[in-house]
């Protein structure tokens, strides 16, 4: 490949590798706000009647993502006796959704995805077919039953 072709080849590669015209800062900020709002809903609404049984705390998590850089986002910790479940935001830049929260318990993990606005869903299964269930107090209870000790 002559030098000019090599130059053109790498120039085209570099142009193609540039991120699309996406406002990544806005995407990141919207994600953080959505997570904060969700955790408020979980704490003040879904768990309102359970506050005497469950200890709810928040911690700070640092996430680093392509194009968005490093940012701080809250995690939600639910503690019952000696058992803890963490709702941990994983990333905003995921495929097929606007963000993802991992739910990690002693017995397993679950995935919650953000689909924009106030729409959050639990990924019930990926195969053989994708099954999403809207996140509600009841579906969150199902998730917690699945990831916490029996």
């Amino acid at each position: 490949m002559p030098h000019d072709q090599l130059q053109q080849f790498f120039h085209e590669k570099k142009e193609k590798a540039k991120p699309a015209d996406v406002d990544w800062s806005a995407k990141r900020d919207a994600w953080i706000k959505a997570v904060v709002d969700l955790f408020r809903t979980v704490e003040d609404d879904y768990l309102h009647a359970s506050k005497s049984d469950v200890e709810i705390t928040r911690s700070d998590k640092v996430v680093s993502e392509n194009y968005m850089g490093e940012y701080h986002i809250p995690e939600l910790n639910l503690r019952v006796a000696d058992e803890q479940v963490v709702l941990s935001p994983k990333a905003a830049n995921v495929l097929g959704a606007k963000g993802r929260i991992d739910v990690r318990g002693d017995r397993g993990d679950a995935t919650i995805v953000w689909q924009g606005d106030n729409q959050w869903s639990i990924v019930v299964s990926r195969t053989p077919a994708l099954r999403l269930v809207p996140l509600t107090a009841n579906s969150l209870a199902e998730v917690l039953r699945g990831v916490m000790r029996p």
Binding site: K90, N93, V94, L95, G96, A97, T111
Partner: protein, 197 residues
């Protein structure tokens, strides 16, 4: 059909170059899919295929690395087994055609002793080529293939043990192809590579 019957060939064996062609096709598909998925991720658009849902950049990278590695392993098994098939078919044809060369005579003796089904690849075929073959570099080509056969056994039996491979660093798919291609060229079952211009 007696155990000596030579009428066992299916003619369905793949050539080394067919296996390699399949590998390159699959490798390209993985690469194109990876490119499609990452383009979608970097453009911030939603691509809703359940297998990718909610996966991050790093997870997708790991997924595609896994697919590529598995394809490599399946291909190495395919390359090694089609090499075995080529050597075994050659064994049968040499016995059937009653050729007068040393290799064919040795194969006929083995056939009289063991029949066809119990012919052993390493002792009855490869060792004969190593002892009787006159082609330059054949001894080391046989040794390389025998080393790679440990990989073939490991892959074919489900990888449940810690393999002791002929090469301490293990093999990649190109190395296994080269080992098999080299041996098959030296025994005359694959045309030699065209000289580089």
């Amino acid at each position: 059909m007696t155990r000596r019957s030579l009428n066992i060939l299916s003619y369905e064996e793949q050539s080394l170059h067919q296996v390699w062609g399949w590998y390159e096709f699959q490798r390209a598909l993985i690469g194109e899919e990876k490119s499609r998925v990452f383009d979608s991720l970097s453009s911030g658009t939603g691509l809703l295929t359940s297998r990718y849902l909610a996966k991050t950049w790093e997870e997708l990278d790991d997924d595609f690395d896994y697919q590529t590695a598995e394809l490599g392993r399946v291909t190495m098994l395919g390359v090694l087994t089609c090499t075995e098939a080529a050597l075994r078919v050659d064994f049968i044809e040499r016995v059937r055609n009653k050729k007068k060369d040393d290799i064919s005579r040795e194969f006929r003796k083995t056939h009289r002793r063991r029949g066809v089904q119990k012919v052993r690849l390493e002792e009855d075929i490869l060792d004969v080529w190593r002892k009787r073959g006159e082609q330059a570099g054949l001894k080391s080509a046989v040794a390389e293939l025998k080393g790679a056969l440990n990989l073939r056994h490991w892959l074919a039996h489900g990888r449940y043990w810690k393999p002791k491979l002929g090469r301490a660093a293990g093999y990649d798919v190109v190395e296994v192809f080269d080992i098999c291609n080299d041996l098959l060229q030296r025994v005359g079952l694959v045309l030699p590579d065209a000289p580089h211009s």
